[in-house]
Each structure stands twice: as structure tokens, then as C-alpha cells.
Amino acid sequence: MTDTSEAVRQAAGTRTIRVEVSRYRPGEDTEPVLQGYDVPLMTDWAVLDGLNYIKDQLDGSLSYRWSCRMGVCGSCGMTVNGEPRLTCGTFLTEYGDGPVRIEPLKGFPVIRDLVVDIDDFLGKLSSVRPWLIREGEELPLTTEYAQTPEQLEAYKQYSMCINCLLCYSACPVYVLDPDFLGPAAIALAQRYNLDSRDMGDRFDVLNLDEAVWGCTFVGECTRVCPKHVDPAEAIQRYKLTAALRSVLPWSKGSKGSKR
């Protein structure tokens, strides 16, 4: 992808920016320490390009995750100057004279340097049954289930989640209580709940103290989400669905509102 070093050559002699990177090497450090590097301040460089420069030219031992460099694989989330950001979509020039402080995403155990443990999320994702549930006869593989653009629109936004976990990192409830099911998993459950083709019911996993009811509507998840998924909205909507279903047991809540 980015041809970093050629750009560096061309820009020799340009300004630099101080980048402070959180380092945690298990066995060596008992807790993270900041290490500073000077990185060329190129107008086109994302924070991630700065990290790549450090890794390639200054210190090969720095560890972090990245892949697509186009904001869609969801692997490069980190805390940049205190804010959870996708580092491939955040530019060094936003931080002018620096320094830029890069730390791992808050709220997760740190495996090493900027790499955090996200297995907890994957377990939660599985638990909400994020797949299309059908009952009865399947259509043959010659026909699609009809779905109008309006029906698509009803869940589309929630299907845009790239699992970058910035929302978990921003949510104080999750940071305090890792049992909280959390914004993205609930948004993805709603992605299927609101899909006109889905016949499943996720009430049992969503209507729990540590699921939708754990959310106190801080709303930070929505503010930091790079893909405009609006998980806060997904959660509040399910609260209403679940509450109505609890007081009116005969109403099928989420399913009823689908069609």
C-alpha cells in the first residue's frame, strides 16, 4: 500500500513531529511506559504511517495491528491523544506541533505495546447469534428472499460495523464492568433483529442486566464510531422493544415492528 520510504526520501529535511508511543513488554515492564520518537511530519501521513515509519526505520520491536489502511478492516484502533481513533484515518497534521501520544485502546487488557486482547468481544458477538435465523422451509438456491430498499434501509446502518471496538473503549460502563455486552454486539444483534428476512428472537440474550440494561446511555459509543453505526440508538431502541415485551407479554416486540 503506502510507499512510505520513498515519500520519506522526497521529504528529507522537512519538519518532524514528536510521537510518544506506549510500550509494554511483558516480562520487562510491569506497566506501560511512553517512548518518544521523531517522525517526519508529512501532510499525507496518517498516524499509522508514523507508526510504520518507526517500525521500519527506528525501532523494529514496536508491535501494533494494522492491515487495510483504508478504514475498513477495523484492526488499527488505538488511543490517540486520549481519544479512541482508527489510526489509518487520523492524520498527523491534526496534531500540529505535537506531541502525539499513542496508547492502546482503553478498556482492554494490553497484550503488548499497542496490541489489546479482544477475545472477550468475539465471545460476546457469538452470544447474540449474529446470523440470519429462519424457520420452516428454506427457499431453493434459485430464488432470493425479496427485500425492498426500504426494508434494507431499516437495518443497513447497523450492518456497517467493522468491529474496530472504538465504542467499547469509549464506553465508561464497559471500562468499569467488562461483563457488559457492549455497544457493537448489541448493534449487530439489532442488525439482524431489524432485518425483514430474520425470524429469530434475541430477547433472551439482550434483555439482561448486563446486556441492554447495563447501558446508561452515555452516548460516547456513537460519538467515536467511525462508521456512523450509532450503537447508542440501537441499544435504546431495543430497550423500548424489551420493555414493551415485558409489560405486554403477548406483543412480539422486535418482530412486530419489522413488517
Binding site: S63, Y64, C68, C73, L132
Partner: protein
């Protein structure tokens, strides 16, 4: 003992896993992936997936477009199987919940695409690969018995006596090196764009599967065919999908002239015309760019010459409904708005037509070893892949490989081979030595960069014998130097430098085969254009390049006839009716 071990959690790997789980739930399936599956590069695919769904379209036409688009280097039996099964696969995805874009009556919508005579490209706005991969990934969560090895890096195939017995892999998080015995292995590791400096491909696309198979004795096929996509953003190489042109975008040079009309691609029309102008095949469009550059009609930028993609006449509404991601990418990475500004673009390395040689069930010549997806070469893409054929390819052949591997695993129930232990131990020692590190040698990044520029110079859009010959020596030299590369990180926890070093080795291996095949093919066909042999030569080269690794580690290239069923070689005609 794993029955089917799949290396790769992208579209091909996950499709294979589901196929195995559905074929025989008693089989033990595992997916090993160096990144979490939903991070795989399938996630970046934008434009769409082709499959015939009526509307006056026929399977034969899709076959013909594919075969002519591939400059008759496709195996036509494979193309026929592919085209016939693609519609079912895309409907299967629909049944699993993929949010395909729709017509107002609820049917799946299709759009035109480069080199296709009919509208048959299904799309999910311009995030098709993203939706496809997440649908597949979330669907695999339903099959709780599928074992996942997330963030494990496979370094070696255990092969003994012409039969695969498993893999050796490093758990990146802990540094644990483990041998995983398996009855069958499916390679679904994706492409190798990172061999080049300027590419749309993600960091993980380092050709690992190709190198694994090649080192284990399986041949690679058609490695000289590297696709340049005509519209990448300068500097980042981020792809501006072909869908932008399919929706009516124009390519213009520095004079605002739609230059494709000068290259036998038809005459400009205000609305897009199928198989014409901007909807010609990618190889021809990228070649036209080089000619424009030579004529001085491109615009110079700090990141090389560019032309412009003009979407302004489409209007904001259409851009937002059909290609919103294009707008998002331009805004965040290029600081411009396609509704009002021209988008600077230049050709960028995008896709590998070649790969591990397989039959139409994904089987390689090594018993029990299969390959599918971009890492494989079933030969449906020939000398040039048509846009939107790759996503259906990973599904069709991912499934086929899964079923074939399941059958093989069921009928071959031998116990663990002795080789598993001995080869596993050797590989462990090699990796541990590499991790001990060295403060001397050259930096991995510097070696990688030299390799990338060598490839760009020698195996770019146009190639020449002399330069290729020189590249052979440069690469051999780089390989030796890479053995001594500097490694500063000797931690066992999440040691990405160790992985980067392994990837450098695999890329060098792949780079050598690309150059060797390109040197051997003394003709011009599809994406392989030799300035010293500028014509297609069906008498000598209507054949695949098949490259084996010789005992001394150098590539040895031979030819394998192309399978022709119903479409004899003809002229590739675009823009003329």
C-alpha cells in the same frame, strides 16, 4: 487430528469451512488465520460480485466475457463450472443475510462492470466485500464446532511422500510454535500485492500460501499475470472501485480529454456503454495510461503521474446512493469531494491472476493439499481477471475445495505420520533461531523496499527481457541478504518483526516466480506485455506457465496446455459492435 485444516479466514477460507461443516458435521474443521477472520482482505472489496441472474443474460455470455477478458488463457472447463455455480453462491449469501442492494420490487440489483457485456454484477453499495466477509464470518459463528486459530501464522506445510500431513504455525500472541497435524489442508491465504511498492492490497497480502505450497513441491501457475487496476489514489494506493466508472465516471487526461477513445476502446458516449471505453478491461485501461504518460498528457504529482476520474456529472445523490464509500475515501484520504472535484488516479497493483496450480476442485498435485481464492490458480482468470469475478470465485471454489477436502479426509483415515514430528521440530528450531535475532544485517524494511522496486521496474505494466534478466540476479542477491536480516525483537509475545521476516521470505519466493515466468513468456497477452515481444503468440504460448522450485531453490518454468472447450482463441474486441 484435524480433518480439514484451512489456512486463511478470508472469503475463500470461511466458505470452505462452512462447506465442510455442512457436508459432514462429524469432521473436525479448523481455520487458521494470521489476522482475525473479519480483518481479512476480502473486507476491502468494493464494487461487486458477478453472476448471471436472468434479465436477458446467459451463462454463455458470462463465460465468453471471462474467456475473452482473460485473453484466452482461461481453462474453459473451469470457467464453465464457475459461471454455472456463481448464481447459487450469491443467492446462498443472500440467504445467509448479505445486505445486497435491491431494486424497488425487492429483487437483488445488478450494475454494469468492466469487460462484461451484460449487467450482472451484484453489489452491496460499494462495500460488497465488507458485507460478504462479515456475513460469512457471522454465519460461521453458527457452526460452533469450527475450531478457530485466530492470529496464528502458518510457516510450513508438512509434506511427506507426496502427501500433506499438517502445518507448523506460530501463535502470534504467545510465540508458541506448534505443529498441527491434519488429514487435509486448504490454502486460502489470498494474494501477494505487497510484492510491489504501490498496491491496493493490505499489509497482510504477502503471498504466504503460494510460497508454502511452492516450497512443499507444488507448482505455481501463471505467476507473470499481475493485474494493475487503473484507478488507485496516488500515495496511499487506495482503490477507487470500478463501480465508479460503471455508474458513469469518466477517465480524462490533463486536457480534460477522454483519452481511452485513442486506444481502440470505442467512442465516448455520455452514459456508460458495456464493454466500451471506461468499461473496458483493466489491463487495457492501465496500458492506455502508460501511453498517455509517454505522450506527456498525464499530470505530475509528488507521487507520480496521474490522470483524473471525473464523477462530477453524476451528482451528489447518485454518488451517495451508489458509491458512498468512494466519497468517504476521497474525503478522508485525499481531502476532496468527488461531487465537485476531479479525483487524481493512477494504475496500481491490485490482483494476482496466478497462484497455486489446482484442478477445478481446488486439488493441487500434492495429495490432500487444496487451494482456493486468490492464492490459487484454477485458471478462470487467465491473463486478466474481470472485475467482480473474484468474489464469486472465492465462494465457488472455496466451497468446491471444502467438499473435495472433506471427501478426501473421510476416505483417508491414516494415523499421524512420523514426518509430522521430525519436520515440526526442524521448523521450530529454525524459527527459534530467527527469533534470537541479530543486530547486524540489513533492516527488513529496506530489503522489502528493494524487492518491491525491483518488481515494479521489471514486472510492471510493460516488461522487457533485459530488465527481467537483471531482476533475476537482484532477487537472488536479496534472498541471500534476507537470510542475514536484522531482527531487533526477540520477545515471544506478539513479535510482529518475526512475522514480517517470514513474510519477506515468502514475498521474495513469490517475486522470483513472477520474474521467472515473465521472462519465460516471450509474447504479450492480457496483463503481461513485453515490449520486446509485443504480439500474442498462440502457437507457442497458448499455455499456462507452470513453475516448480528446483532443488537449489531457483524457479524452473515449464508450460501446460490451456483447456479449450467451446471458445477458440479470437481477437479481443472492445468498444466495437
Amino acid at each position: 487430528m484435524i480433518d480439514v485444516l484451512i489456512v486463511g479466514g478470508g472469503g475463500a477460507g470461511l466458505r470452505a469451512a462452512i462447506a465442510v461443516a455442512e457436508t459432514d458435521p462429524s469432521l473436525k474443521v479448523a481455520v487458521v488465520s494470521k489476522v482475525y477472520p473479519m480483518r481479512s482482505h476480502t473486507v476491502s472489496a468494493e464494487g461487486g460480485a458477478a453472476a448471471v441472474i436472468g434479465l436477458g443474460d446467459t451463462l454463455d455470455e458470462h463465460c465468453y466475457d471471462t474467456v475473452s477478458g482473460g485473453d484466452w488463457l482461461c481453462d474453459q472447463d473451469a470457467v464453465e463450472a464457475f459461471v454455472a455455480e456463481a448464481p447459487e453462491e450469491l443467492i446462498q449469501l443472500e440467504h445467509w443475510g448479505c445486505p445486497w442492494s435491491r431494486e424497488s420490487d425487492g429483487r437483488v440489483a445488478v450494475r454494469p462492470f468492466g469487460g462484461m457485456k451484460k449487467m450482472r454484477t451484484w453489489y452491496a453499495a460499494d462495500k460488497t466485500g465488507f458485507h460478504l466477509l462479515h456475513t460469512l464470518f457471522q454465519t460461521t459463528l453458527k457452526y460452533q464446532d469450527v475450531i478457530r486459530y485466530d492470529e496464528w501464522y502458518v510457516t510450513k506445510l508438512v509434506v511427506d511422500d507426496g502427501r500433506v500431513h499438517g502445518v507448523v504455525a506460530v501463535e502470534i500472541r504467545t510465540g508458541r510454535i506448534e505443529t498441527i497435524p491434519a488429514r487435509t489442508v486448504i490454502l486460502a491465504t489470498g494474494g501477494c500485492g505487497k510484492v510491489f511498492p504501490f498496491t491496493t492490497n493490505a499489509a497482510i497480502k504477502t503471498g504466504d500460501g503460494m510460497a508454502l505450497a511452492y516450497r512443499a513441491g507444488a507448482p505455481l501457475k501463471d505467476m507473470e499475470f499481475v493485474q494493475y487496476h487503473p484507478t488507485g489514489l496516488p500515495f496511499t494506493g487506495i482503490l477507487i472501485t470500478e463501480a465508479a466508472r460503471a455508474e458513469g465516471g469518466w477517465l480524462i487526461n490533463k486536457d480534460g480529454y477522454r483519452y481511452l477513445q485513442d486506444y481502440d476502446l470505442g467512442t465516448p458516449t455520455p452514459t456508460p456503454k458495456l464493454r466500451s471505453m471506461e468499461l473496458g478491461p483493466r489491463d487495457r485501461l492501465s496500458q492506455a495510461f502508460v501511453h498517455e504518460q509517454h505522450k506527456g498528457r498525464t499530470v505530475d504529482t509528488p507521487y507520480g503521474p496521474v490522470v483524473y476520474l471525473d464523477l462530477r456529472h453524476l451528482g451528489e445523490r447518485k454518488i451517495d446512493s451508489r458509491i458512498p464509500f468512494v466519497r468517504e475515501l476521497c474525503r478522508s484520504y485525499q481531502n476532496l469531494d468527488p461531487a465537485t472535484d476531479l479525483i487524481p488516479v493512477r494504475p496500481v497493483v491490485h490482483y494476482m491472476m496466478g497462484g497455486v496450480h489446482t484442478d477445478i476442485d481446488g486439488a493441487t498435485p500434492i495429495a490432500g493439499l487444496y487451494a482456493a481464492g486468490e492464492t490459487a490458480c484454477v485458471s478462470i482468470n487467465g491473463a486478466n481477471r474481470l472485475g467482480s469475478n473474484s468474489l464469486p470465485e472465492i465462494l465457488v471454489f472455496g466451497r468446491r475445495a471444502g467438499i473435495a477436502a472433506a471427501a478426501f479426509a473421510t476416505s483417508h483415515r491414516e494415523a499421524e505420520a512420523a514426518a509430522v514430528h521430525s519436520q515440526g521440530e526442524d521448523e521450530r528450531r529454525r524459527l527459534e533461531r530467527a527469533r534470537e535475532g541479530s543486530r547486524h544485517g540489513e533492516r527488513i524494511a529496506d530489503l522489502r523496499e528493494q524487492m518491491q522496486h525491483t518488481l515494479e521496474g521489471a514486472a510492471g505494466i510493460y516488461r522487457t527481457g533485459d530488465v527481467l534478466t537483471k531482476a533475476v540476479d537482484t532477487l537472488a542477491d536479496l534472498r541471500e541478504r534476507a537470510e542475514e536480516a536484522r531482527v531487533e525483537d526477540n520477545s515471544t509475545t506478539f513479535n510482529t518483526e518475526l512475522i514480517n521476516l517470514q513474510e519477506l521470505h515468502t514475498m521474495l519466493e513469490v517475486a522470483q516466480t513472477i520474474v521467472a515466468c515473465a521472462l519465460n513468456r516471450q509474447e504479450s497477452r492480457g496483463a503481461h506485455q513485453r515490449t520486446d515481444y509485443s504480439a500474442r503468440d498462440d502457437d507457442a504460448y497458448l499455455a499456462h506457465s507452470l513453475v516448480h522450485r528446483a532443488p537449489d531453490g531457483t524457479p524452473s518454468v515449464g508450460l501446460l496446455p490451456v483447456t479449450i472447450t467451446r471458445w477458440p482463441p479470437g481477437e479481443r474486441v472492445y468498444g466495437r459492435d
